[in-house]
């Protein structure tokens, strides 16, 4: 089996299609040339479970009775950046061979994509008309079960749940990094 790899242009195109009225002021940063597409169910179960163990290992565990990993000095954007870095680290550890080693060795990398199609996005989470509630979460470019086309799945790294962003919330995205 070979892992699906998409170019930075294909990733950006998937993001554009997900948002009706794309803000021209938004900053979208794609820093790799190719991206491996992770399997959604695996990300939502085993990977999130390991992420919480890793947070505990780093000393960022929830206190007894606390539902959130956020802290005043380590809040949503810090946690979303850490989730992205953790997933990038898994991508590296799953595919540790260099180009030359992969070429020569009998054991091959699963994927040769430079990056993983998981990003951090910042948006306005408010629902009231004249208020602002800025928030940072993660986005995964992947296939929904049973569908061939690529979709954007929004993830809350604080509890591992999948989020449905409204049209207004999607259009409020002003920063995204993949």
């Amino acid at each position: 089996m070979s892992a699906l790899s998409i170019t930075a242009e294909e990733l950006l195109d998937t993001l554009y299609k997900d948002i009706d009225d794309f803000s021209l002021d938004a900053g979208y940063y794609l820093t790799d040339s190719t991206y491996a597409v992770p399997e959604l169910t695996h990300m939502m179960t085993q990977v999130y479970d390991s992420f919480t163990k890793w947070l505990k290992f780093l000393g960022l565990d929830r206190k007894t009775g606390q539902k959130q990993f956020w802290k005043r000095k380590f809040d949503c954007e810090n946690l979303a950046s850490l989730y992205k870095s953790y997933c990038d680290l898994l991508h590296y550890k799953t595919n540790p061979l260099s180009f030359e080693e992969n070429f020569k060795a009998k054991k091959k990398n699963k994927s040769d994509s430079e990056g993983l199609a998981i990003g951090t996005i910042w948006y306005d989470n408010s629902t009231a008309p004249n208020s602002k509630n800025l928030h940072a979460i993660n986005a995964i470019i992947t296939q929904k079960p049973g569908l061939e086309k690529l979709s954007v799945i929004y993830i809350e790294p604080n509890n591992g749940s999948q989020l449905s962003l409204t049209k207004k919330q999607k259009e409020s995205i002003w920063y995204a990094k993949f």
Binding site: S2, A3, L4, E39, H42, V47, L90, K110, S111
Partner: protein
């Protein structure tokens, strides 16, 4: 040998065991697109 006994008796874990738990192998979407010739 001592390590094996320790692992069995006291559920002693080595760094590699922790790493396997903390860093699972990623699973990817299979590429079903036709390759260009």
């Amino acid at each position: 040998m001592v390590r094996k006994i320790l692992k069995k008796l006291f559920k002693f874990k080595e760094l590699e065991d922790y790493q396997q738990e903390l860093y699972p192998k990623l699973k990817y979407v299979e590429d079903l697109r036709k390759k260009k010739k």
